[in-house]
């Protein structure tokens, strides 16, 4: 099977409000930087393009069609789209390369979530008969999950606050982060509760932005002559939509995905976990069996800026960055979808052997 590498990654700033910039205007600068990083001109220089977005973020049907306007798709290109986080667009691109129909692919994700009331928008993901009509927002669902963990003694509020503190501090090194700063766990605990037991700091912000990744066969990566990291495994799994039927203090599907992706085959130096709420990072860390040897969310993770439909892809890019910089040799990137970690994807990245 052809080895596949990631060769480029760029992200926009994560902003609470992208202002006048529309979707195509948000995507273009990110793509431009990605192309420059890889040393290619535009989407014509890759064999396949796949994007991830969701119409309901900005509130317009066919939002992804605008994305095609950023690609220079004349002559026409091989292109597809998932109404999911772009990490799944990367997954689709991997299939395309593995089947021999592409040697390289551009993947991008974008979301302008600020125009709507995101936690309420996402309530309409839920069961359309039993839950969507109640407008149960995503923060409240996560708060119930957190309380269950607190009640069962699986975590403390301080554990959660420490996740937040580390995120904000790590984000100080991330120029694209929306929330960063030298915030201690005590500072977090000093915040009043928001949707109890969650504090504002426990919740990811609402963000606008985009990110892009280029992947290619190792042969192609070498031809391009750019640093690359290997994608040694990728897998995902979804769970029942009835939260009452899941153990929401655990993430079974994350564990399944990590096993299938071969995470356990080696040491994990870095893990970028898509945890929109502080306690979910703890769930994921435990589900994956990660210990002290693993640096968790060095970018700050989505608590420092949550690009809906793109942050899962960004996580893959952030691990890539740390491998090519030499900070890490092996890492995993996680993406999630659905309420309370219903659907999870795990990618394993590794340092390439010296060519």
């Amino acid at each position: 099977m052809k080895e596949i590498a990631i060769v480029g990654y760029q992200q926009s700033d994560s902003r609470s409000d992208a202002g006048a910039v529309n979707e195509v205007e948000m995507i273009m600068p990110v793509l431009e930087r990605t192309f420059a990083q890889v040393g290619i001109n535009n989407a014509q220089d890759v064999d396949f393009v796949c994007s991830g977005s969701c119409d309901y973020m900005q509130g317009a049907a066919f939002a992804f069609v605008a994305g095609v306007d950023a690609l220079g798709a004349v002559p026409p290109i091989k292109e597809s789209h998932v109404e999911m986080d772009a990490a799944w667009a990367l997954y689709e691109s991997m299939l395309k390369i593995r089947m021999g129909h592409a040697d390289s692919a551009l993947i991008y994700g974008f979301g302008k979530s600020s125009p709507g009331e995101l936690p309420i928008v996402l309530s309409q993901q839920l069961d359309p008969y039993y839950l969507a009509p109640l407008w149960v927002d995503t923060i409240s669902l996560a708060a119930m999950q957190a309380r269950m963990m607190l009640d069962q003694g699986l975590i403390t509020e301080r554990d959660m606050a420490e996740v937040v503190s580390r995120s904000r501090r790590n984000a100080m090194n991330n120029p694209h982060a929306q929330l960063s700063g030298d915030m201690s766990a005590d500072d977090v605990l000093a915040q009043e509760t928001y949707v109890s037991p969650l504090r504002k700091g426990d919740c990811c912000p609402v963000s606008d932005g985009a990110s892009a990744v280029v992947i290619a066969t190792v042969e192609k990566a070498k031809e391009w002559g750019v640093p690359y990291a290997l994608i040694s495994g990728i897998s995902h799994a979804i769970e029942t939509h009835n939260m009452g039927m899941r153990d929401i203090t655990d993430s079974v599907s994350t564990r399944i995905a990590a096993e299938r992706a071969g995470m356990k085959a080696g040491k994990v130096d870095v893990a970028q976990l898509y945890a929109p709420f502080s306690h979910q990072e703890i769930i994921l860390t435990r589900a994956l069996g990660l210990g002290d040897e693993t640096s968790i969310n060095p970018s700050g993770g989505v608590l420092a800026g949550n690009l809906m439909m793109a942050s899962g892809l960004s996580n893959i890019g952030e691990v890539f960055n740390r491998i090519i910089s030499g900070e890490a040799e092996r890492g995993i990137a996680h993406a999630t979808s659905g309420p309370c970690l219903q659907h999870n994807l795990v990618t394993v990245l590794e340092k390439a052997e010296k060519a």
Partner: protein, 146 residues
């Protein structure tokens, strides 16, 4: 090129949506209309309320309905200090997962309470019915502490 001003305009995206329920969801909603709660038995015998159409573990179609009580116990909850406009309650309230008597799987609904400190995991609650029930999820106006 001068720096563009920002042009904003509020708009509402929406449709009326008339949903056909199918027999399982329809049976539950019919129960609500009659102020009764009904669950369904999963392949492993657990009683799920509201009833799911398909078993999460075996993917089999489910059909064995079971009546459950209108009282239950809070499994976990979230306290909403500032209800959002779309929320079913205007005053501070709790979202809760509630395991009804006779059910094994908790359902999600809201719980009316004066303050967060009144609500606890394990607390007993009872369904409060809307003045008029029409066969919709909001026929349960909320749950209240017993």
């Amino acid at each position: 090129m001068s720096q563009p001003e920002i042009l904003n305009q509020a708009f509402e995206l929406g449709y009326t949506y008339t949903r056909s329920t199918g027999p399982v969801v329809g049976r539950f909603l019919t129960g609500l209309k009659n102020r009764k709660l009904v669950g369904i038995k999963a392949s492993d015998g657990r009683v799920i309320v509201p009833p799911m159409e398909y078993d999460p573990d075996t993917a089999e179609e489910l059909s064995e309905f079971v009546d459950v009580g209108e009282q239950g116990e809070i499994v976990t909850f979230a306290w909403v200090k500032e209800p959002r406009e779309a929320h079913p309650m205007n005053e501070p309230f709790a979202w809760a997962m509630i395991k009804l008597d006779g059910a094994d799987v908790p359902m999600i609904h809201c719980v009316a309470a004066k303050s967060e400190s009144d609500v606890t995991t394990g607390a007993r609650v009872r369904a409060v019915w809307a003045d008029e029930t029409i066969g919709f999820m909001t026929d349960i106006r909320c749950f209240e502490l017993v």
